[in-house]
């Protein structure tokens, strides 16, 4: 057994981030409507990560407790088996999600040649 020193946190993080970013396209943007139920934003983000997507960015529009709100989330695939329609369906079945739409720049570019 060879004992080596642990990489520091920043090095390890850079390594993981580089591996995650490799071979992936532009982020896909999800536009999500929320009921305003407690924890809805956290529930959405948790689902996205657990279902095998990399969270590239997220924004929750300002709001007060109980108010309907909108959220935009940019995601990257962690592998090619992940389907956007499946993630959309998984988000839609959350009780506190009212509607989901997404914009995939790669799909859009392909459509326009």
């Amino acid at each position: 057994v060879t004992v080596v020193s642990m990489p520091d946190h920043e090095q390890a993080h850079d390594h993981v981030a580089a591996a995650d970013a490799a071979d992936h396209d532009l982020p896909i943007r999800f536009d999500i409507g929320l009921t305003g139920a407690e924890g809805s934003g956290v529930r959405v983000l948790g689902l996205i990560v657990r279902r095998g997507w990399y969270l590239a960015a997220a924004e929750l529009k300002p709001g007060r407790p109980g108010q309907k709100r909108r959220m935009t989330v940019d995601v990257l695939r962690r592998d090619e088996t992940r389907r956007l329609e499946t993630l959309k369906s998984q988000l839609e079945r959350l009780y506190d999600v009212t509607d989901v739409d997404y914009f995939d720049p790669a799909e859009e570019a392909a459509r326009h040649g």
């Binding site: 139920a37 407690e38 924890g39 956290v42 529930r43 948790g46 657990r50 389907r83 329609e85 499946t86 369906s89 998984q90 839609e92 079945r93 959350l94 009780y95 506190d96």
Partner: protein, 445 residues
């Protein structure tokens, strides 16, 4: 909340990944609505747990008698007419169809509709672990469980089929083996109440979302000319039927479970734990109802509490908990519940002094590098049971099995039958991890 008060934990956050939804009650006035919603969410569509977090300050308040909400029953409708027509066209064109039945059938309350569809089409069926019993497992055209520890004939039938009708199953990796090799010649009709399951892992040629019952009743392809295929599948079923002629004097668990299942009759509920015994139950016991087989999939400790629940729900049924020496220790304190309420659950404890399934995998796929599987220092389980006030006895040779089953099934109080089995016994057949269901390993005695 949020001040780290005595015994405070973030139960809302901790449970978020494992519940269908959760509520925190912030005002007592919300309680009637939240409770009604919680029951609706838990039972609607794909059932799942809902957590209501009732903070201490809310729980100790007094409130006037609240209104109670009446819950509207929803009857999900069939899928789109075009999808139904497309599915019927695939059914009419199929020469080698297979019905692939999952746990979603029972969850959706669609057992009767499934049996009607199965009866009028005559399509041979296989089932997942959670789908067993939706079609009676002793029915002629029911082939068996598919997947990692399924019947070889069931896996071969799926591999050969040209149309796979998935009813309430998820293309789970334990059922499919290497997904890319699963049912390689088949078009797929996928019916599921949960639209997020459609094309998640295997692209469906036709998707039927909406109510499973409604879809199954609506689908009517007319007479199907599949007799040669049926004959072929039934011949495979006969060729690969289970064998019970293991040599030796030791107890052969598959035979014991088969005998128990036959003797107990059709109104038998078996609640399992997890491991080798769980697979033997699925392979060798008879299930005439989908809710006669209570198996968690993968949670050790599930069996005994599930059996208690089953016996309370169906007091006239014979309820047997089949467990292993690893699993029983996860919830052994529930023996106290059996005694306290005198619940006549019968326990078969198959003791191989091992975490048997883990040992099997370490032997087969990790070069025999065993780690933390030896349970040879187990307590004496009969003494443990007696300490809880539960009748218990041991069976350790084959010639004691018949008398043991007589005593177990004849008891009208809680009882534990402790069965010593060979620590080297494996569950066969087996699809190795990452391999095709066509590549089952065989072994056995």
């Amino acid at each position: 909340m949020g001040t780290d008060a005595f015994q405070e934990v973030d139960i809302f956050g901790i449970t978020m990944p494992i519940v269908k939804h959760s509520f925190v009650v912030r005002d007592t006035a919300e309680i009637p609505h939240i409770v009604a919603e919680a029951f609706r969410i838990a039972s609607h569509g794909r059932p799942g747990p809902v957590l209501i977090d009732l903070p201490k300050d809310i729980a100790v308040r007094s409130i006037p008698e609240p209104d109670v909400y009446e819950r509207a029953e929803e009857s999900p409708r069939a899928g789109a007419a075009k999808s139904l027509k497309d599915a019927e066209a695939l059914l009419r064109a199929a020469k080698k169809p297979i019905l692939y039945v999952g746990g979603g059938v029972q969850m959706a309350g669609a057992v009767r509709a499934l049996r009607a569809f199965y009866g009028r089409t005559g399509i041979p069926a296989v089932a997942t672990l959670k789908g067993l019993g939706a079609i009676p497992t002793d029915d002629e055209k029911f082939i068996g469980m598919l997947g990692m520890h399924g019947l070889r004939a069931a896996n071969l039938a799926v591999q050969e089929c040209d149309l796979l009708i998935n009813v309430g199953a998820r293309f789970d990796d334990r059922a499919t083996g290497a997904l890319a090799t699963f049912a390689p010649h088949a078009r797929v009709i996928h019916m599921d109440a949960d639209h997020a399951e459609i094309s998640k892992l295997r692209k469906a040629d036709v998707a039927l979302t909406g109510g499973l019952s409604a879809n199954l009743y609506a689908l009517d392809p007319g007479p199907m000319a599949i007799q040669p295929w049926r004959d072929h599948v039934l011949a495979m079923k006969a060729e690969h039927a289970w064998r019970y002629d293991a040599p030796g004097e030791g107890v052969y668990a598959p035979k014991l479970l088969k005998d128990m299942s036959e003797r107990a009759g059709p109104d038998l509920v078996i609640a399992c734990d997890v491991g080798q015994h769980q697979m033997w139950v699925a392979q060798h016991c008879r299930f005439t109802r989908a809710d006669n087989h209570l198996s968690s999939g993968g949670t050790m400790g599930f069996g005994l509490p599930a059996a208690i629940g089953a016996k309370l729900a169906r007091p006239d049924a014979t309820v047997v908990c089949v467990s292993g020496d690893g699993s029983i220790m996860m919830n052994i304190q529930e023996l106290a519940t059996l005694k306290r309420y005198d619940i006549p659950v019968k326990i078969i404890l198959l003791n191989n002094s091992m975490l048997g399934m883990v040992r099997q995998w370490q032997d087969l796929f990790f070069a025999g590098n065993r780690s933390e599987v030896d349970l040879s220092d187990n307590p004496d389980f009969t003494e443990v049971a007696r300490a809880f006030g539960i009748d218990a006895f041991t069976v350790d040779t084959r010639d004691q099995v018949d008398a043991g089953l007589d005593r177990l099934l004849g008891a009208n109080r809680p009882i534990l039958m402790h069965v010593k089995i060979d620590p080297a016994e494996n569950v066969w057949p087996l699809v190795p991890p990452g391999k095709s269901n066509a590549d089952m390993m065989e072994g056995g005695k």
